[in-house]
Amino acid sequence: MTEKLHEFVGKLKEENAAWVSDVKEAFGEVTINVPAEWVVDVCWALKTQHGFDMLADLCGADRGPEEDPRFEVNYHLFSTEHYNRLRLKVLLSEDKPNVPTLTTIWKTADWHERETYDLFGVIFDGHPDLRRILLPSDFDGHALRKDYPLRGYEPYSMN
């Protein structure tokens, strides 16, 4: 099953070698690392030419405060035509956690990106409405970062 995915990755590389910086295969899943500035172009190509028409999931991950690049944004693409799945990974440093928004391609990216911004502080450039979604708007910090304590800094109150 993964041969087909490697075929897609090969086509992407043919189109523009800068799009794919690394390809990994593990547990039957293919992950491609994409530089942050190219993620919109890669997703557009995958959606329009290779049938990956659904963004199944988008989630952030924190590797820890001493790592560089510190943040990961994982895009799980799915195709309702050939039922394959592909993971795109964008690595971001702590100083500049900016990645272009995908809301122009998939509307479902809206809430996923708001959630990732809320919990990790990743900024999605060009997002139409980048507000907190799960936590209150006056919440301090980003709760899923590794250096954020499990119980928070102080008891939160609505006042």
Binding site: C59, W106, L144
Partner: protein
């Protein structure tokens, strides 16, 4: 009192603006038809919805943070609390992600029991959906009929796992324990009674003129939009896309079961209702097949470092005792890596992204809740409809706030 008014955050002030042609109605969070603590900011022109802005997060409990501080086997009990109408589906996706990282082989009997229990849970979840969405539209008696059937499944789940709402029945490497004696007979009894109950629902609801006019042509979303918004499950199949992960990304041996994928093309509340009603039949079919396949055998994988040993073995074998101590006290190490595991839950694609750094606790667990994604499409479905139709649309989406807010 005046102190409280001053402290209202900016986003709530919209309601205080003078009324010209549009008004803002804050629906929820304590509204019975929002199925939990969902708040909707509705901009209304008369009774027409101009704009709907869902506001979520009232039930946020930081589960994804909590997973990082719990061992893999301790995380299972947290998943019960997410989609509390489909806890076995949550258990399944979590343990399957961990099993994928550990590369475990699950015995046949455990797989069949997982399918059996998940399909029973799907019927129970759809019963709550039918009961509550009919209640929203004013049909009180359907609710009682549905909950009577759900109660029978709850009793079955309780018999197997000891818990009704929080079973935690699936464990990494298999099941908590084998099915109790007489369980198959009880399921068979339920299976015999259920078609009659299905007929009752069809008589109560499907032919009802009020029900038809409240749902037909309401909350329409077409095929392209549905895919664009990432809808999955019955909502997507109601828009004419025959996608079912049990068939197209099979797990637990679903590819060997014989069932149909119900598809409707209208994309309205009626289509989503028809899809779920036909799914009840399909689940019934799968449970029957699973019952036939139930053969005696082990229910736990042969992996002593991951799966808890039998109590009897612990009295006889030193190494079983050591393994038990190590699993409980220190947990087990999971190889480094990341996986995304999707399943077809009762509400759509339930996916888990699990990342391990090689230790006994996960580095990151993220749940892709189908309700979360389906609710995001509520504005496109409800804009241009009446206020009362928003209630019908929320009912047809079948959302669970526990999963949305996590």
């Amino acid at each position: 009192m005046s102190v409280a008014v001053e402290n209202i955050p900016g986003q709530f002030e919209l309601a205080d603006q003078p009324l010209d042609s549009e008004m803002t109605l804050s629906m929820g969070p304590q509204h019975p038809s929002t199925h939990g603590v969902l708040r909707l900011d509705l901009r209304l022109d008369g009774e027409l919805v101009v704009k709907a802005i869902p506001d979520i997060g009232y039930l946020h409990t930081g589960m994804e943070k909590l997973f990082e501080y719990k061992k893999y086997q301790q995380g299972i009990v947290i998943t019960d609390r997410m989609d509390y109408l489909n806890p076995l589906g949550n258990n399944l996706v979590y343990v399957m992600a961990a099993e994928k990282l550990l590369n475990l082989e699950i015995p046949e009997r455990a797989q069949v029991i997982r399918v059996l229990m998940c399909e029973l849970q799907r019927i129970a979840s759809h019963m709550v959906w039918l009961g509550t969405s009919a209640l929203d539209l004013g049909a009180m008696s359907v609710f009682f009929f549905c909950f009577r059937q759900r109660e029978k499944i709850m009793n079955l789940i309780e018999a197997a796992s000891g818990g009704r709402m929080t079973p935690s029945y699936f464990r990494i490497g298999g099941l908590m324990m084998d099915l109790p004696a007489g369980f198959e007979r009880r399921v068979k009894q339920f299976m015999e009674d259920f078609p009659e109950a299905l007929d009752t629902f069809e008589t109560l609801v499907t032919g009802n003129t009020i029900w038809q006019s409240r749902t037909q042509g309401v909350g329409v979303i077409d095929k392209e939009e549905a895919i664009n918004w990432g809808l999955t499950g019955p909502c997507l199949r109601g828009s004419g896309v025959g996608l079912d992960l049990r068939r197209h990304n099979p797990y637990c041996g679903y590819e060997t079961y014989d069932f149909d994928i119900p598809v409707e093309t209208d994309g309205d509340c009626w289509a989503r209702f028809r899809v779920r009603m036909r799914e009840l039949n399909e689940s019934h079919k799968i449970v029957r097949q699973a019952l036939e396949r139930l053969k005696p055998g082990p229910t736990k994988a042969d992996a002593p470092k991951v799966v808890l040993p039998d109590r009897d073995d612990m009295r006889k074998h030193m190494d079983s005792l050591i393994h038990h101590f190590l699993i409980v006290a220190e947990g087990f190490n999971v190889p480094e890596g990341e996986v995304y595991m999707p399943i077809e839950a009762s509400k759509g694609e339930l996916g888990v992204y699990m990342k391990s750094n090689g230790g006994p606790k996960p580095d990151r667990v993220h749940f892709r809740g189908p309700s979360f994604v389906n609710l995001a499409a509520l504005p496109v479905m409800s804009e241009g409809e009446m206020v009362a139709d928003v209630v019908a649309i929320i009912g047809s989406l079948d959302i669970v706030l526990g999963e949305i807010d996590r």
